[in-house]
Point group: C2
Chain length 274, copies 2
DNA sequence: CAAATAGTGTCTCTAAGACAATATCAC
DNA sequence: GTGATATTGTCTTAGAGACACTATTTG
């Protein structure tokens, strides 16, 4: 009778066919537009990091940053590593979006992708000064309901516009899955991953879990509100927003002055209570 | 200059080291206890399917059903297939729980697991008459807060009791990750998978998304309430429960009679509106 | 009738949304 | 002062929880 030790010594996994495993990361930040007047606050845009593919397949198209899983790391660590390699910033927040494993999704062969959302503050990216390689750019994102209950995804950077149309299919447990109907300029099934990632981000923004990571340590409540409005693509009344986030933030003694209007108090995130 | 076609023809994935990929499924059902009086409704217990391992590693210990991903299926399809193979029932509901990829989690080598929750009605299992192999059993589940903010997981079937203690660590986006502190009788890291699965199920039960799948086509509102109370491990007032689920259900003309008390109207799930 | 579940009505309380009003700065 | 944002107060409304009450059946 063989012991577990003996069993493992003789065991070999290489008899089974194995997929390659990657992680793809949808890294979001909030980018500030230029001020339209000296006293107006800047407008915000939700931005997503895309990499221009230098090699086949999908050469010249844009793709989410990602890479192959290494045997000494978890998929989360892989996602963090990939994001850091591309942006210079290690994200504080990361969230799984789903596993994309449709046979044939990658023409190179059997490759399944673990998709993640990560959230980065605009300030930290500017500080680190991401290598401004033309093959890595922050695209403005818009995902809106189009005709027939479909969703229109639009990504723009300067004069580049990537578009996709996706069908939203309700699966069990109230989850939605996106199926690509049309996609131009985006590699692989990344249009579906981006749509799923943004949906997940919006769901989190509702409960104020994700929005703080877009901002530096201290922030004004108006800036926080703009972040949420930018992600969710809605507007709320300032009075109500302030009341709702009040349990998540605490005051500091500092103010932002010199903006051409009443100074705003700086707040910081309150550590979440048990 | 090489075309994409040429590139793919010459491309080979086998240069990279690849993990084995499995899915593990936490299949839950609600089991009815024996009636304590002719006119009392039966008590319910939340049950989880476990398989006794016949071979190394963890021989003789209990594990979640699961298996290796095949190249012609998605991970969801793999989870559905595995559940059907073990229970005879193809679940209507399935939900991802997370990817478990900690290096060293499987002594056989580099194996990552895609964990799923599935939900099965007790009735359908009884109808199909699951092969009552002694190596596949439905265990009663209990996951409660223990000392030091830890969680105690207890699984019981007849005279078998499996226990584990888990630390709940808050990760970003308000998610919790379970780390195994102690575990007896459960194979691999399955104690952590089970805890995560039950947490996910509870979160869904809150929004009434999961509870219908535990019951047959038509059901009484009291039965539905019991399902939710069993999963969430709470009690609610019948009047309030009825008001809350009223938008998810619709009446039928039928009643359940002969129970020693007032007949209960049967309801069915209303198809979720857009 | 007793025991048990089925089902309804309504009061209260809290949180979210709407709106009005005031405060404070830079130019 | 003007134009802009910052901040507070309060009215209204929708939904969740608590509780009291009625209805209906079988042994």
């Amino acid at each position: 009778m063989d012991s577990e030790k003996e069993f493992l010594a003789n065991y070999s996994l290489k008899d089974y066919e194995r997929p390659s495993v990657t992680t793809d990361v949808a890294a979001f930040k909030i980018g500030a537009e230029d001020k339209t007047s000296y006293r107006k606050n800047p407008e915000n845009k939700l931005q997503l990091l895309l990499i221009k593919r230098g090699g086949h397949p999908f050469k010249g198209m844009w793709a989410l940053p990602g890479g192959f899983l290494q045997s000494d790391e978890t998929v989360e660590e892989c996602a963090l590593r990939e994001t850091q390699e591309e942006t210079g910033v290690r994200p504080v927040s990361i969230m799984p979006v789903g596993v994309f494993s449709e046979p044939g999704r990658d023409p190179r062969g059997w490759i399944i992708s673990n998709a993640y959302v990560s959230v980065i503050s605009d300030e930290s990216v500017r500080q680190k000064g991401m290598d401004d390689a033309a093959d890595a750019q922050w695209f403005s994102v818009s995902l809106v309901r189009g005709g027939h209950g479909n969703y229109d995804l639009m990504l723009t950077y300067e004069d580049i516009t990537l578009r996709a149309v996706l069908a939203a299919e309700r699966t069990s447990f109230g989850r939605t899955k996106f199926r690509i109907l049309e996609s131009s300029g985006l590699a692989f099934d990344h249009a579906a991953i981006i749509a799923a990632a943004l949906s997940a981000l919006r769901a989190e923004a509702k409960s104020y879990e994700a929005i703080f990571d877009f901002l530096p340590e201290t922030f004004t409540l108006t800036a926080l509100q703009k972040v949420q409005e930018t992600i969710m693509n809605v507007t709320v009344l300032p009075a109500n927003f302030r009341r709702m986030v009040s349990r998540y933030v605490e005051e500091t003694d500092e103010y932002v002055r010199g903006e051409g209007h009443r100074p705003a108090k700086l707040y910081r995130r309150k550590s979440p209570e048990q």
